[in-house]
Symmetry: C2
Subunit: 277 residues, 2 copies
């Protein structure tokens, strides 16, 4: 009987060693035996303690990393993860933005929705935009209610805080090209960041927004998103589709926004109609 078989026999309750070890470490973290920020025992120490081979320990720690409980840092150690500071993203931003549309440029000047969310000055924020155009795929054609292949203006945005290196969001925004073209200034990224934001841009082509619909899902980041948002293993993203509808009923802008799940809280408030007594 080899050593693996022996261990199996001893640990009848939970056949999988890596799960047993993961459960044990998880319990210790929950019990604050290892606190947030602490370094976990080295893999070598765990190997000796649990009497298993290195890959088994790595697997066990990998499970905890996938759950977002710990974070491994090459050459430094494995640490119990501290919650990252969260940025609140509230829908009040939209009414706030709308209220500012008709102000003068100097009044709109330093204001943007990101500033609203983070409570920071525009000057402390990173901003990057690039424009191009593309043909609507089936998905976007349905949302805009146009035929597939219709030319769309495609704008890519990255926003972030200068002192932090990773952006706060990845945004792909779409508009029907011919609609945006009514104001040629809207077709070039040179005019970004546009004072007053998207709603002011729409105002210049005679569009007033009636409502904004947001659809949220959660999923693991793609390899690209993980790199861009500097997400480690064990995090998820909020994938949000924002659909802006004009007072005419037309869908005028669609944005696909990817937000780091470990530092974003999306807040929505539903007001209810009062009963008449």
């Amino acid at each position: 009987m080899d050593s693996q078989q022996q261990t199996r026999t001893v640990v009848r309750e939970l056949a999988k060693q890596y799960e047993r070890i993961a459960a044990d470490l998880r319990a210790k973290i929950r019990a604050k035996e290892y606190s947030p920020g602490d370094r976990m025992p080295t893999e070598d120490a765990l190997k000796t303690h649990y009497k298993v081979s290195a890959p088994t320990i790595r697997h066990a720690v990998g499970v905890l990393e996938a759950e977002g409980l710990v974070q491994r840092q090459h050459g430094r150690g494995t640490f119990v993860r501290k919650p990252r500071q969260r940025v609140q993203r509230s829908t009040e931003r939209y009414q706030w933005e709308k209220d500012r549309v008709k102000l003068s440029e100097t009044e709109r000047g330093t204001t943007g929705a990101t500033e609203h969310d983070t409570g920071r000055e525009m000057s402390a924020l990173q901003f990057f935009a690039s424009y191009d155009s593309l043909a609507a795929n089936a998905d976007l054609a349905t949302v805009f209610d146009v035929s597939e292949g219709t030319k769309l203006l495609h704008r890519v945005y990255r926003t972030g805080i200068k002192t932090e290196d990773a952006p706060l969001s990845l945004i792909d925004s779409y508009m029907v090209h011919d609609v945006a073209a009514r104001n040629p200034d809207l077709l070039s990224a040179d005019n970004e960041p546009w004072p007053g934001g998207t709603q002011h841009q729409l105002y210049t082509i005679g569009i007033e927004l009636d409502y904004i619909r947001e659809e949220l899902t959660a999923r693991p980041p793609t390899a690209y998103e993980a790199e861009q948002l500097e997400l480690s293993a064990g995090t998820a993203v909020i994938a949000l589709r924002k659909i802006s509808v004009a007072t005419t009923g037309d869908v005028v802008e669609v944005s696909d926004v990817v937000l780091p799940g470990d530092r974003t809280v999306a807040v929505y408030t539903t007001e209810l109609v009062r009963w008449e007594d």
Copy 2:
């Protein structure tokens, strides 16, 4: 020079073999060379094709699984994941529920918010509830604006569709115990499912809701959540805190809701005030 070194030299661009293989497979999936639902080549075939050892292939496929691109099934094979059918969870449910509070019990009878979301009959839905009470921790005490240790009514709910085995959500709901106790019927799970839902329960103790605030984040599931919601590797959950505020301004109910990210879309609509022309 051992074989690993040799390979390194050959593949200069991307040192990590498992990443090179993962990138290659990822590209093939995106190019629909392997389509959703298809079985991927066996690990043995990949091992031969890429000329690496078994654990390296497993690591590469593991990366794709963590991204939610493929799903491994023991004894059957590895499959390209198909998107799961999504359930929409819209905040209209709340106004809908409020409008029904003052109806008679028979009118409220078969209606619940889950029915509203899924569009299914109450009879086709699973429902499970259990009640207990506990002392408020610091977090909940802050939200309710009561002192730490205040006795809270704690209710656990699981809702789901009978024909599917996994629940649609895991809910932990909290109320200040003394407030709920004004109607003793509210203290026992025996009266669940309560016709008309939480808002009707609150109505019986003289509470009308003014607004509901929801805070959403995304994260990987805990081991427990993955088991309960039958989530495989490569999925995330939406963690939603719902805070119900009465017309008096008091926080009367708080729910922590966990939703499977791969089959839930949370929808929020923000109405904007019209400009006066």
